[in-house]
Each structure stands twice: as structure tokens, then as C-alpha cells.
């Protein structure tokens, strides 16, 4: 009898002891040997050495799977539906993030054990990661405000200055924008490579989403302004009519100062890092200034799969990129990438007084510019079907610019008409 009691007591105490020891080792050691699967649209985590940093800090391995943007949802949704091979972290790009966070497959990041703190983030970065009920499902480490990237050589030749504030004053309103475009055209330069590129600005400035909470169609009047401005740009010979992302459109950025014909391109932060720094002939010939109104383009929000066996590991990654201010600072200083954490951004803005790391902006502090314009972003018009309907609107714009649709009101009617065909279940 006594022996049995003793055995039980010893067993019980040792079990308790083991539990205590196990729960104490919360550090990186507990992730050793584990693999974190991330499904993303870009390999920037690898190229920006984030994977390297994470693997070193935790001892875990990262399996980064990349799928092109256009196929991302087609790849992700069947995985989520079958529950097979689902990545621990999946993402949503701005154009469809509202779809991803509303699938009911992401963890609530504001609750324990995550307790994500977004009070230092830009309002829109926080808002985009929330589902229709306002629950925080995804976080981003980036903020992607946009700007007018213009050629200093052309600015000097036409306007006599390349100072971003002075040039910005010439593009402060859409009327100013068009007036400056006329001046450029009269001197034989193009304001933009394509009038349709303005879409990225206007789509981000919508105040209402395409479908409201009752699935009723609403077309923000700013789209009408978009069509008006784009038509004036096209009819005034201010655009070079180059197909977006086509080879000649890309080449328009890569011409040497002196032989450049296109004054400006509209890009967000990642345009600077992923596109412009590859245009070797024009490095240093660019400055950036504001467009009428703030806007954003793209951005990636990270979700934790609700049924992932590696939630703690996934959170460790997301925490490192969005909550760990020391890492965010280190990452930003290394890459020049603009962050979603306002406090860190304001701390380090002075570090970029010599300009962006690749020298594209010829010494202009890109961080200071993005800091100013990020505050102006209002993403209340974002909707789950942005990618599809923005594409639809751009297509109608093409027909309108070609003169096939007689008036801007007819163009708005055509947009509604096509949306009716493609979304017959909504109300109009």
C-alpha cells in the first residue's frame, strides 16, 4: 500500500516537473526542426533575406512557395477547400485581400496568443487586414503609397527646375496636372506612357466599395473623373499610348537622360525597388512628387491558417515582420522598404537623406516622401472584387479613349452594364 502511494506520488511529481520544464523552453529552441510553409506571390522574403534572418533566429526551416499574382487565388482556394497541403501562412494582395480575409480560414490575430498591436500602423494597413465583421485576420509589414516619379532631365528642360516641391505644385490638382501635361506636349514630351495608368491612382481613391454590405452595386463618382482626365490626356496627345507592362512601356523608363521622351510614371514604393532600380540607363534621373490625392497600389497581408499545426511558428514570423520594432528597423535600413509601422518610419527617415539604396532618385529621400503621402491614403473604397472590376473598368476606358463610346455618361452606363453581366446575383 505504502509503495503504491509512493510510486504514484513520484510519477505525479515527475510528470509535473516535465510539464514545467517543457513550458519554460518557449525560446527559439522549440522551433528547431520545424518547417514553416509560406505561400506568396513574390520571392521577396528570400531576396530581402527575411527567410535567412528568420531561420537563423528560430532554427526552423522556411519553405517559401511562390505563385504568380494572377493564379494566386486559383492555387490557394482549392487547397483551403480540401484542407490538403495548406500553407501555414497565406497572403492576400490589396486587390483581393478582402476576399482572402473573409474566407473564414484565418486566425483572429487580435486575440490570444497573438494579441497583435496595430496602433502604430497606418490606418489603412490595419483596415485592409480586417474582415467584414471588423476582426483582424491579416497583417502587413509594408505600406505602399504611390507617387509621380518624374524625369529630372525633362523637368529641367521644360519647367526649369527639378525640385520635388516646385514640380509637385504643378501637379497639385487634376486641372494643374492637365495644364502641365499640355506644356510638356507642346515641347514634344509625353506626360505619361499611357492614360490608362491613371487607373491605379483613381481606383485607390474610391470612397465606396463596388458592392456595399447588401451586395448592391455602387459606382464611385471618382471613376467618372478618372475617365474625364484620361480622355483629356489622350486627346491632348499627352500619353505615349504604350500598353502597360509591355516592352516599349518598360523601355520608356530605361532611356538615357537627354533621349527620354516620357516625363513621368506612376509607381508605389515597390515600383521603386522592383522595377525602377532595374532601369540602369536612368538611375539618378528620377525624383518623386505627389499626385492629386494620396493613393496606394498593392501590398501584401499575411494570414495564419486556422487549422495549421504550426500556428506559433507562423506567428513568430509575422510577429518578427510586423510587431518586432527592432527587426522592422533593421529590415527597413537594409532594404529601404517602406514599413507599416509609423513610429519606426519616423525614427529612421533621416537615414535616407542620401536617397534610396540604389540611387534611383538621385539623392532624394524617398522615405520622407512616402512618410508624407502614406498619411493621405484612405482605403475605405476597397472591395473584394477590386481585381476583376478594376480590370473591367480599364477595359471600358480603352473603348472610351478609342472613341467607341460617345460620352462619359455612356461609359459609366457601359461599366454598370458589364458588371451586371459578370455579377448577375448582385442588385443594381
Amino acid at each position: 500500500m505504502k509503495n503504491r502511494l509512493l510510486t504514484k506520488a513520484i510519477t505525479g511529481l515527475s510528470a509535473l516537473g516535465l510539464l514545467l520544464v517543457a513550458s519554460c523552453s518557449q525560446g527559439p529552441e522549440s522551433f528547431k526542426g520545424k518547417t514553416l510553409t509560406i505561400l506568396s506571390m513574390s520571392d521577396e522574403f528570400k531576396t530581402n533575406k527575411v527567410v535567412e534572418d528568420f531561420e537563423a533566429a528560430t532554427g526552423a526551416k522556411v519553405d517559401l512557395q511562390v505563385v504568380p499574382n494572377e493564379q494566386y487565388l486559383n492555387k490557394l482556394k482549392p487547397l483551403l477547400k480540401t484542407g490538403h497541403n495548406v500553407p501555414d501562412i497565406f497572403v492576400g494582395e490589396a486587390g483581393f485581400v478582402k476576399q482572402v480575409v473573409n474566407l473564414g480560414m484565418s486566425e483572429d490575430l487580435s486575440k490570444a496568443p497573438y494579441n497583435a498591436d496595430t496602433k502604430d500602423q497606418y490606418a489603412y494597413a490595419d483596415q485592409m487586414g480586417r474582415d467584414n465583421e471588423g476582426v483582424l485576420r491579416a497583417l502587413t509589414w509594408q505600406t505602399t503609397p504611390g507617387g509621380l516619379f518624374y524625369r529630372r532631365s525633362i523637368a529641367n528642360a521644360v519647367f526649369g527646375t527639378d525640385d520635388p516641391d516646385k514640380i509637385g505644385a504643378k501637379f497639385a490638382t487634376w486641372d494643374d496636372f492637365l495644364a502641365s501635361g499640355k506644356v510638356l506636349a507642346s515641347k514634344g514630351y509625353f506626360l505619361l506612357p499611357n492614360a490608362g495608368d491613371l487607373g491605379n491612382v483613381f481606383f485607390a481613391q474610391k470612397k465606396v466599395p463596388y458592392f456595399d454590405k447588401t451586395n448592391h452595386w455602387q459606382l464611385d463618382p471618382i471613376i467618372k473623373t478618372f475617365f474625364d482626365v484620361a480622355k483629356k490626356v489622350r486627346d491632348g496627345g499627352m500619353d505615349a499610348k504604350l500598353g502597360a507592362w509591355s516592352a516599349p512601356w518598360m523601355d520608356g523608363m530605361n532611356t538615357k537622360p537627354g533621349s527620354a521622351k516620357i516625363f513621368s510614371y506612376l509607381w508605389p514604393t515597390w515600383g521603386l525597388f522592383f522595377v525602377m532600380n532595374g532601369q540602369k540607363n536612368s538611375i539618378g534621373d528620377w525624383h518623386v512628387t505627389e499626385t492629386p490625392g494620396g493613393w496606394y497600389w498593392g501590398g501584401t497581408w499575411m494570414n495564419i491558417y486556422k487549422k495549421s499545426p504550426n500556428k506559433a511558428l507562423a506567428w513568430a514570423f509575422i510577429k518578427m515582420m510586423t510587431q518586432d520594432k527592432d527587426y522592422i528597423k533593421k529590415y527597413a535600413l537594409r532594404t529601404g522598404d517602406f514599413n507599416s509601422d509609423k513610429v519606426v518610419d519616423q525614427e529612421i527617415v533621416g537615414n535616407f537623406d542620401k536617397g534610396d539604396p540604389a540611387g534611383v532618385l538621385g539623392g532624394q529621400n524617398h522615405y520622407a516622401f512616402f512618410l508624407k503621402s502614406a498619411d493621405k491614403i484612405d482605403a475605405s473604397g476597397v472591395s473584394a472584387d477590386d481585381t476583376v472590376i478594376n480590370g473591367l473598368v480599364s477595359n471600358v476606358l480603352g473603348d472610351y479613349l478609342d472613341g467607341k463610346i460617345p460620352s462619359v455618361d455612356a461609359a459609366m452606363a457601359e461599366i454598370t452594364n458589364r458588371v451586371k453581366q459578370q455579377f448577375p446575383q448582385a442588385t443594381y
Binding site: 509591355s246 476583376v388 480603352g398
Partner: protein, 304 residues
């Protein structure tokens, strides 16, 4: 004397095919049929509910569906006419008894070559060649004067002609080879007899060769109908997202089906309904064609 019956083994040998067929062809087809009667959606993971014929009704009354239907035909008809003419001409030329062209094998390979290139490559090529401001086509026709350049992709009709033209380019070689094979299977005595009787080249072609290769013409036409009505890859790569470019001219029926299911309102039930409507349409047109083509033949044989 017991004779071993080997018949049963036959069933084992054909079993793998039927298993694969059931799993990868029959089951998905039936699943699509069931799905078309539900409100299955690609945008949420709820359990699909039965909605009866609502999807069919919606699609048949959709103006965009019928636009895609006509788009598909406008792309296909000029394609098949040009393709057949070109293929018949080449087949006649290369099997001509008198001309007896050497090096048929090399020519066959050259004609077939476009068929081997991946469609994505071709789409990019087309996109670059017909580019408004810098495409080679505009430069060849109009020289350096950019004001004269034509915006090829600015008109839905031109988009359709380009897609149809590319299809002709891809398939004319295959069709020509099929027809050449058919003509070469004809007994040589027929040609010799015709020549002795003094028949001219064109009479031989229209009175002897064409009637003889009618089955192959039917095969080529029907497979072309099926392939043409399923035209997807080229328009989708050129105009991703199912918006179809200018005048929505690049929206073919399959593009419509795919976009309905995975792109626009992500209505999987609707996409499934479109798939079955397309099946019905293709079947009707194939049967119609065969009736016209074979109908004549059986009446001819009746006379004989």
C-alpha cells in the same frame, strides 16, 4: 479436350483504361452536372444548396453568353474556311501524280512546326507583333510615321480575325498532313485510269479525290468544330481576367465559362451550367455537320 478460354484476360487488359476514364473523365463530368444545379461558389466555402435550373436560366438569358457564342463562331468560321482551303491546296499539290514533288517529308515537318510552339509563346509573339506604337506589323506597313499606325487590338473584330488567323497558322499543317495521308491511301489505279481517260488535274481533284476523302474531311471538320468552340488559351493569355479586350471581342465561350466559374462572380454552379450548355451546342453542331456531310453520301450510295 478442354479449350482454354482466354477471353476473360481481355477484360483485365482493358480495365486500367476504364478505371482511369471513370476517375478522371466520367466522375468530373458527372460532378460538373450535379454542380450546375447548385449555387456552388468559388468565393466561399459554404455547402452548396440545390437551386434547380436557375443557373441554366441565368446563362441562357445572359447577353454576354450569347455574345461569347457569336464571338466564338466569328473566330472559327474564317479560320476553318481558310485552313481547309490552304490544306486542300497543299494536299493536292503534294500528292499530285504528275508534279511528283520531292522532299514531301521536309515540307510536312515545316507545315506542322507552328503546331509545336506553345500557345503562350504565340500569344506573346502576337502581342508584340501587333503592338500599336512599336509592333513590327505597323512598322512594316506604315514605316516610321507613328500617326498612321493602326491600333489592332482596339477593335473587337480585328482581335477575332487575329485569333482566327493564328489558329489557321497553327492547324493548317496538321490538316494538310491528314488530308495528304487520306489521298495517299487512294489506289493508284484510280489516278491512272483517270489520266488515261484524259481527265484534267482539277477534274481529278473535284470528282475523284474529294469524294474519296470525305470521311477524313468530316473528321477534320468535326474535330475543328470541337476545338474551335473550345478556344481558350490564346484569348485568355492575351486578355487575362476574362474581360476580352476591345468590345469584349476576346471572350469566347470557354473564356466565358472559366471566368464565370473562377473570375467574375466566381459562380462554380454557373460555370458548370455553361459547360453543359456548351456540350449541348457542340453536339448539335457536330451532328448537324455530319448529317449534311454524310447525309449526301448515303443518298449517293443509295443511287448506286
Amino acid at each position: 479436350m478442354k479449350k482454354r478460354n482466354y477471353n476473360a484476360y481481355g477484360y483485365w487488359f482493358i480495365l486500367p483504361f476504364f478505371l482511369v476514364f471513370l476517375v478522371f473523365t466520367a466522375y468530373p463530368i458527372l460532378n460538373t452536372l450535379f454542380d450546375s444545379f447548385t449555387n456552388d461558389s468559388f468565393s466561399n466555402f459554404g455547402t452548396p444548396a440545390f437551386v434547380g435550373l436557375k443557373n441554366y436560366a441565368n446563362e441562357i438569358t445572359s447577353s454576354l453568353f450569347w455574345k461569347s457564342f457569336f464571338n466564338t463562331w466569328i473566330i472559327w468560321i474564317p479560320n476553318i474556311v481558310t485552313q481547309m482551303t490552304l490544306a486542300l491546296l497543299l494536299a493536292a499539290l503534294f500528292t499530285n501524280y504528275e508534279l511528283n514533288i520531292k522532299g514531301k517529308g521536309i515540307f510536312r515537318a515545316i507545315f506542322f512546326f507552328p503546331n509545336i510552339i506553345t500557345i503562350t509563346t504565340i500569344a506573346i509573339l502576337v502581342y508584340v507583333l501587333f503592338d500599336w506604337q512599336s509592333g513590327a506589323i505597323n512598322q512594316i506597313f506604315f514605316g516610321p510615321d507613328k500617326k498612321e499606325y493602326i491600333n489592332w487590338f482596339g477593335k473587337g473584330f480585328v482581335i477575332q480575325m487575329i485569333i482566327g488567323g493564328v489558329q489557321t497558322w497553327i492547324w493548317f499543317g496538321y490538316t494538310a498532313i491528314m488530308l495528304m495521308a487520306g489521298i495517299q491511301a487512294m489506289p493508284k489505279e484510280m489516278f491512272e485510269a483517270a489520266l488515261i481517260d484524259g481527265a484534267s488535274g482539277s477534274k481529278i481533284f473535284f470528282r475523284i479525290i474529294l469524294p474519296f476523302i470525305r470521311p477524313i474531311l468530316a473528321y477534320v471538320a468535326v474535330t475543328s468544330i470541337i476545338g474551335g468552340m473550345q478556344m481558350f488559351d490564346l484569348p485568355w493569355v492575351m486578355f487575362p481576367g476574362g474581360q476580352g479586350g476591345a468590345d469584349q471581342g476576346g471572350i469566347t465561350m470557354t473564356v466565358y465559362m472559366y471566368a464565370r466559374a473562377f473570375s467574375w462572380d466566381q459562380n462554380l454552379g454557373g460555370g458548370s451550367a455553361v459547360a453543359w450548355i456548351m456540350f449541348a451546342l457542340i453536339a448539335i453542331f457536330s451532328i448537324l455537320y455530319l448529317r449534311i456531310a454524310y447525309g449526301k453520301r448515303s443518298s449517293d450510295e443509295g443511287v448506286n
